[in-house]
């Protein structure tokens, strides 16, 4: 397993847990309609996201060298995969945010306004989705180019 694959797995775990926790906070206890006015949930979400970033950067630091002691831990193939993952992530995040905005517009068109809590959701979800998509794309591209069969 290369450094980029190892980091992708840890990223999926860290941000997957954060995303699950944030979804529980956002959709539970009154749901999106009351999230914007609930300081406790807003602070909890901020702490959760902050913990996610701390865990993520700690993981990046701890995985800066290869545990197997390989001399080269990343090469041109990893760079190529990272570039493709970046491009894919950008498209996925743009499409999802676009679809979410359209969905909110459809859902609240009759009411005339969107609960402000959804802005928190869109902001946080875009960050988490970017990390998760990039990690998933990295693993998929490695799978396709690596020793696990044709991709």
């Amino acid at each position: 397993m290369t450094q980029s694959q190892m980091r992708a797995v840890y990223t999926l775990v860290i941000w997957g847990l954060v995303a699950g926790g944030f979804a529980a906070l956002f959709f539970g206890n009154g749901g999106p309609d009351t999230f914007g006015a609930d300081k406790g949930r807003i602070v909890s979400a901020a702490i959760l996201i902050g913990a996610g970033f701390i865990a993520y950067f700690a993981m990046m630091y701890l995985t800066r060298s290869h545990p197997g002691g390989a001399r080269v831990i990343a090469d041109e193939r990893d760079d190529s995969i990272a570039r493709r993952a970046n491009g894919g992530t950008l498209i996925v995040v743009l499409v999802v945010v676009y679809l979410a905005c359209i969905g909110l517009w459809e859902a609240y068109r009759e009411v005339g306004c969107v609960p402000v809590g959804w802005m928190w959701f869109l902001g946080y979800a875009a960050v988490m989705l970017a990390y998760l998509t990039h990690a998933a794309a990295t693993l998929l591209l490695n799978h396709g180019m690596g020793d696990h069969g044709r991709g």
Binding site: D75, G146, G151
Partner: protein, 71 residues
């Protein structure tokens, strides 16, 4: 599709070079073992620099290690 157009003899050449391991070759050409695996399975097309480094390890001209096939 570019990966399918360029084939190589790396696997054969490794075994003819006293059964050089994938990690051994990777260390000599400054890449990861996974890249050697991908190259041997034609899943990845290397940069010219990496291709030249691999050919140099086997002391062969580039075209005896890599070959390009028109589709």
């Amino acid at each position: 599709m570019a990966g399918a157009e360029i084939s190589n003899q790396i696997r054969r050449l490794r075994f003819e070079s006293e059964e050089m391991t994938q990690q051994g070759l990777a260390d000599r050409v400054d890449c990861t073992r996974q890249t050697i695996i991908a190259l041997e399975k034609s899943r990845y097309v290397p940069s010219l620099a990496l291709a030249f480094r691999i050919a140099r390890v086997f002391e062969l001209p580039l075209e005896e290690v890599f070959s390009y096939h028109d589709r």
